[in-house]
Amino acid sequence: MTKILLKTICLLLITLNASAQSKSEKNDKDYKERAIEIQQEIWNNADKAFDVKEIPEKYSSEGAVIIAKSFEVANSSQKKFKMIHLWGGSVNQYRYFTTLRLRVLIKDKTALDDFSTLNYSKIVDNTARIRFYKLVNTYKTFIGARIIKPDGKVSSFNPEEEEVILKNEDKNKEGKIAIPDLQVGDILDYYIRIEEVIEDQSKVRGPNLFFLGDEYPILYYNVKYNLDKKCGADVINLNGAKPMIQSVNEEGDIVLQFTERDLQKLKNTLWTSQARQVPYHVVRYGFPGTDIIAKKGEVKTGPFTETYKDLLKAAYRDSRIVDHMPEKALEEYFGRSKVKNLPPDSIVNFLFNYYHWYEFGSFNTMNVSNDRNYNGMRYFYMAVTFSELLKRIYNIENDIVIVCNRYSGRLNEVFGIGDFETFVRVTGGGKLTWLCFNDFFQNAGQLASVYQGEDAFTLTREGRGRKHDYTDAETPIKLPVMKSSENVLVEKLKVSFGKDNFQLINIDRTCTQTGAMKTSDQKRLMLSEDVEGGFAYLLNKQKATDMLAKNRANKQQALEIQAALDKERVKQKDYFKSEINDQFGQEPKELLSYKVVNNALSVANPVFEYNETFTMENFVKKAGNNYIFDVGKLMGVYKKAEEKERTRTLDIYMSCGRELTYNFAITVPEGYNLKGVEELNKKVENEIATFNATAKQSENILNVTVTRTYKNNFEPAANWPKLLTVMDAAADFTGMKVLLEKSK
């Protein structure tokens, strides 16, 4: 009996193995046949743009020119009868074919490197099998390429012969190809076709973004969607991109298309908001049941601002506070009896800090680096719960503000709910109006710079009941822009010359920052332990590590976390050194001391301040018996705009209007007189920016004050020359010197 069983099992195993082998061979054969079909289909494509061999003279100096680029999507769905468990039933089978084809003239070695290799997932089979039930989910990639030599000869190759397989599992094959016979001067014409088959699950596809520009010029750019008539598509064209052409083919399928010719390459330009300045299209599509606006067989052209605003409103309507810890914390802090009589600002400020403390989190793991300072906050969730808390529990009138970040699309160009960000505006008295949750370092009452000047919607909660709705204002509000005087950097540098070595200067530098000028340094210089501790202090709570240590069960863990935090604290010196290096273009010779004087987490004390003392070389040059001091370098590295940057057509998006002041108090060494002080005085002023440097010697101290002001966060391109005059003056100042002349 055992023998028979063994034989049967062996036979079964052999049969299964043979079956698996033949199936694998069949898959390979199918793949090869399909690859040939696709190759013929694409190379026989009648689009003449892919036959072009010459490029316009104006692009002769480019490293590469994209002669033609096309992106095509075709999809379909059909019902299929399948065995589901032991019953028969039908499932939807969705097919998506995506094809990218590119024809590029390669003119330098950089472009040759860029285009010479291709990595791809050749086959991915995520088909799910549950007993007798199988849901197909496969993904295959087919590639092809040919090279057109300068003499017109066409060189092609078989990708399967050239590829190396990085992963060779039955259900997951990854390949890589170095394109053979490709040289500078050649035209490379290649395609990537991805064919997906998915059963019984259809998700929204996209959004696909098509910027009308690339790092190389594009002579012809065609995007075409051929979508099943049961499918729907949402589209939008922005920043001057012409609308896509919509039509219906003979099968009743949706056709969406745009064609562009002669697109210039995109350039890196200082102070831009690309999402608002570069023309582009966005497309997403899907079958019924997916998360798109268009219905079956429909194309909807955005913006969808109102639709998503309503969706957000509906989601907010269903939202409820479940955590009552903030209220308890407030009562503990002020005393239960006093809460009723607290002014709104006290409540708002405390709760705002609580939300930040809570969201910043404690230290339950050894993840203690200051990377945490860069985390975002869950503004959708924060805004709605904060708004509810203020209104329902404390009867403080407020709105939820829906806005778009200055560096994303505009409010009237919304394509997806992710284009929105939300925060709270308090309207029920008090000074703390704006409560933003975009990062941890916004003070209560501070409107984040990325929202300033933007249009915004408001949602006002109706009533104080748990069941609630929101009223939305009919017209958007315009968010204010902070004055430059509210975004201030002041650097005070006390400078003295080394006693034994004049060429080594001692600097005592104190920086104070307000408004939008402080968050960058707060994030880079503060330790996460100090941020957490700072928030805890504002709430009269214990630091996370102290709380952990109190818990006997966690005492060991607390000690270890503290050890990790102590180790992290050692790195703070490097953070300060790095900041000095960025500022002055060189590391300090020695960093003698450094500290954050005020963390600015409190609205009552919102000025971020840090101090450091260090020594620097290369500021003083010997000149006979005298010394020349590069006083202008104390302002830090400031580079002049290049010639090609001096004209611009793009409007100017700066982070904020701002005032930067540098005070240098330089001790003149005994036995030396100063020369060249007068030349330090300079003033350049126009209606949008100023530069002013003043210098005066008082006894043995040379006092220099330099201010640079940019009044606005946005300027039209026409104002660029005015900004340049101030920027040039600042750059020139960094080259200023004074002479320390030996007294005779």
Partner: protein, 623 residues
């Protein structure tokens, strides 16, 4: 080459561990036991090497999780992995196996087995056990004693049956607590050599440092031969054996192909001079064949056929060497393949091993002189050699024999970088004409950088480099020699205007004579830097500036001359007064590109002298 792979695997392994460790003093290797056993596999008629590697990690300060990475490839299998966390089997840790992508290698057979290993609390330990088999002892080249983490105790036992002849060469043991013992196991008829290593510091990763074969304590394993039941199997008993093995792989690849012959003739059409033909082929390779590294099993030792490299227009060092050879042979020259280890490797052919070499080039024997052509050095001139191969031992194929010689060591003069300027003062600006010239590796360096930049930006980038991106340093009338001709020195000429280069106070002008200040801030942090510093190549920087003095001014102060001279480097900066002008001459020569740490202090003092010169101005006073 396969050997680049062997070395690479080692280096990526080091890198992976170092990456994991990041000088993490929180984790140590408390205990590591490595057991290696040579055994004869009757089935394959081959000696195999079994490895059992047990590593116990401990955290000293706080709980953590560390990435554990073990490499394997076509010749090495991982047979078993066990993980213990705090003494308990951790079945929930499932190792992943994947292709390992290595920078600059298009494809290799390197794979990794990896997982995250938790160490649950301060003072607790986690243990990892790997069992591996190397199927060919030629590929078992070394045992390293250090790791990305500090090692408290490591015991390495090597079981060598007396039927297998293995030599162990100990390297970089000095100053380390390493004890060796050897016992004979009569039952196994094997010697068991045991190294007990204590307190080995975590490896450092520093830029421009020697490779690990120079710095890390390790044993080089040289498997020479085995007396097997079916007779003697010779591995690398001598260099002859190593060459014979190489030759067995390459002998049938004789480069003689119509396409290659035709192409070679097409490239050199119209050229009659032999050396010009050779150069033409060499530079054609630079321009037309791109380097893509393949390290795949035996293919890592087997050059691609020349016609294939020609068809693909890419190849690894072996393929490029082979095509160079093929084309030169097509023109009737005596060209041959060469095996060589770059200076990244401390070894030479006195220890036959695949770990000795990692590169292949082409040798040309012409009129009794041997020239070495490295087609992967994209912009180097003919008969110029990159630092990485200079002085290195090389095996030149010679039928069944070989020629064992060395690549010539080039003196620093090869890498000339000169600047000649004729300048005058206009107000507070300095203006004038400048010519610059680069040769050897300096030239190669400039060409490499220019070609790494998009064509439309390369001119701007060149000017930015020359002006040190100083917007006050305007360059006009900029011309260069051919940027396609690597045979000649690269030269540029331009006019410059350096605005506000002169400071004017009262009746005096203050002039900064040296705009570039080469090496001015190049000092070592002696407390931080652990390893020697290796410059990329020898340098020979020379600057001559003639500065006209305005007629109504006289020179009243100048920085004193600086002259530093020793066996490793020479710095000199001098200013000489001549009628109506000053002549500034600077020379910076790195003769020995390997600066040992013990000389850092002296180097820093010498750089301070240079810096003091740079930070002193010439004073011109009104007459």
């Amino acid at each position: 080459m396969r050997k680049i792979f062997a070395t690479l695997v080692l280096s990526v392994l080091l890198y992976a561990n170092l990456l994991a460790a990041d000088n993490d003093s929180n984790v140590i290797i408390l205990n590591s036991k490595e057991f290696y056993r040579f055994e004869f596999d009757k089935k394959d008629n081959q000696v195999k090497v079994k490895q059992e590697l047990t590593t116990t990690y401990r955290c000293l300060e706080y709980r953590t999780a560390i990435p554990v990475v073990e490499f394997y490839d076509d010749k090495t299998s991982i047979d078993e992995v066990k993980v213990l966390v705090d003494g308990n089997k951790a079945k929930y840790i499932v190792p992943k196996y994947d292709y390992y992508s290595i920078d600059n290698i298009f494809y290799s057979d390197a794979h990794i087995c990896y997982f995250n290993l938790p160490i649950e609390r301060k003072g607790s330990s986690s243990e990892v056990y790997f069992e591996k088999t190397i199927s060919d002892p030629r590929y078992f080249t070394s045992i390293y004693f250090s790791d990305g983490y500090k090692v408290s105790l490591k015991v390495v036992s090597i079981n060598i049956p007396r039927s297998v002849k293995v030599e162990l060469k100990e390297l970089n043991f000095e100053g380390r607590d390493i004890k060796k013992s050897s016992v004979y196991d009569s039952k196994l008829d094997a010697d068991i050599i045991t190294y007990t290593i204590r307190d080995i510091a975590a490896r450092e990763r520093e830029s421009h440092s020697p490779g690990p074969t120079y710095t890390e304590p390790h044993v080089m394993v040289l498997c020479k031969y085995a007396e097997s039941p079916v007779g003697k199997i010779t591995y690398f008993n001598t260099l002859d054996d190593q060459y014979a093995w190489y030759h067995s792989i390459t002998k049938d690849l004789e480069a003689n192909n119509d396409q290659v012959n035709t192409k070679a003739k097409e490239i050199t059409a119209g050229i009659s001079n032999d050396l010009d033909k050779i150069k033409k082929i060499f530079y054609w390779m630079h321009d037309n064949i791109r380097y893509i590294a393949f390290e795949d099993g035996i293919a890592a030792f087997k050059p691609e056929k020349p016609e294939e490299v020609l068809r693909k227009k890419y190849g690894d060092c072996k393929g490029m060497a082979h095509l160079t050879k093929g084309m030169l042979k097509a023109l009737g020259f005596d060209a041959r393949l060469c095996w060589i280890g770059t200076n990244h490797i401390a070894y030479d052919y006195s220890t036959p091993s695949i770990a000795v070499d990692n590169h292949m080039i082409c040798a040309l024997i012409y009129q009794d002189k041997t020239y070495f052509l490295d087609a992967t050095e994209n912009y180097i001139g003919f008969n110029e050699y990159a630092e990485r191969i200079q002085g290195r031992q090389v095996l030149i194929e010679d039928g069944a024999k070989y020629i064992h010689t060395k690549v010539p060591v080039t003196v620093y003069e090869q890498n000339l970088n000169t600047e000649k300027a004729t300048l005058s003062i206009k107000g507070t600006d300095v203006e004038g004409a400048i010519s610059r010239e680069w040769r050897g590796e300096e030239k190669e360096n400039i060409f490499s950088q220019l070609n790494a930049i998009k064509k439309e930006k390369s001119n701007d980038a060149f000017i930015k480099y020359l002006s040190d991106d100083d917007k006050n340093y305007a360059i006009t009338e900029f011309t260069t020699s051919s940027l396609q001709d690597y045979d000649k020195p690269l030269t540029v000429k331009y006019k410059m205007k350096h605005s506000n280069a002169v400071s004017s106070f009262g009746n005096d002008l203050y002039v900064d004579i040296d705009f570039r200040k080469d090496l001015g801030n190049f000092t070592f942090d002696i407390k931080e830097r652990i390893l020697d510093y290796w410059f990329s190549f020898k340098t020979n920087t020379r600057q001559e500036v003639q500065l006209s003095i305005p007629a109504d001014y006289a020179v009243t102060a100048m920085p004193p001359d600086v002259i530093v001279k020793n066996d490793d480097y020479e710095f000199s900066a001098t200013i000489v007064k001549q009628p109506g002008k000053l002549l500034y001459t600077k020379s910076i020569v790195i003769k020995n590109p390997r600066l040992v740490k013990s000389k850092f202090e002296q180097w820093n003092r010498d750089i301070e002298k240079l810096k003091a010169f740079y930070n002193e101005q010439i004073v011109l006073s009104k007459k």
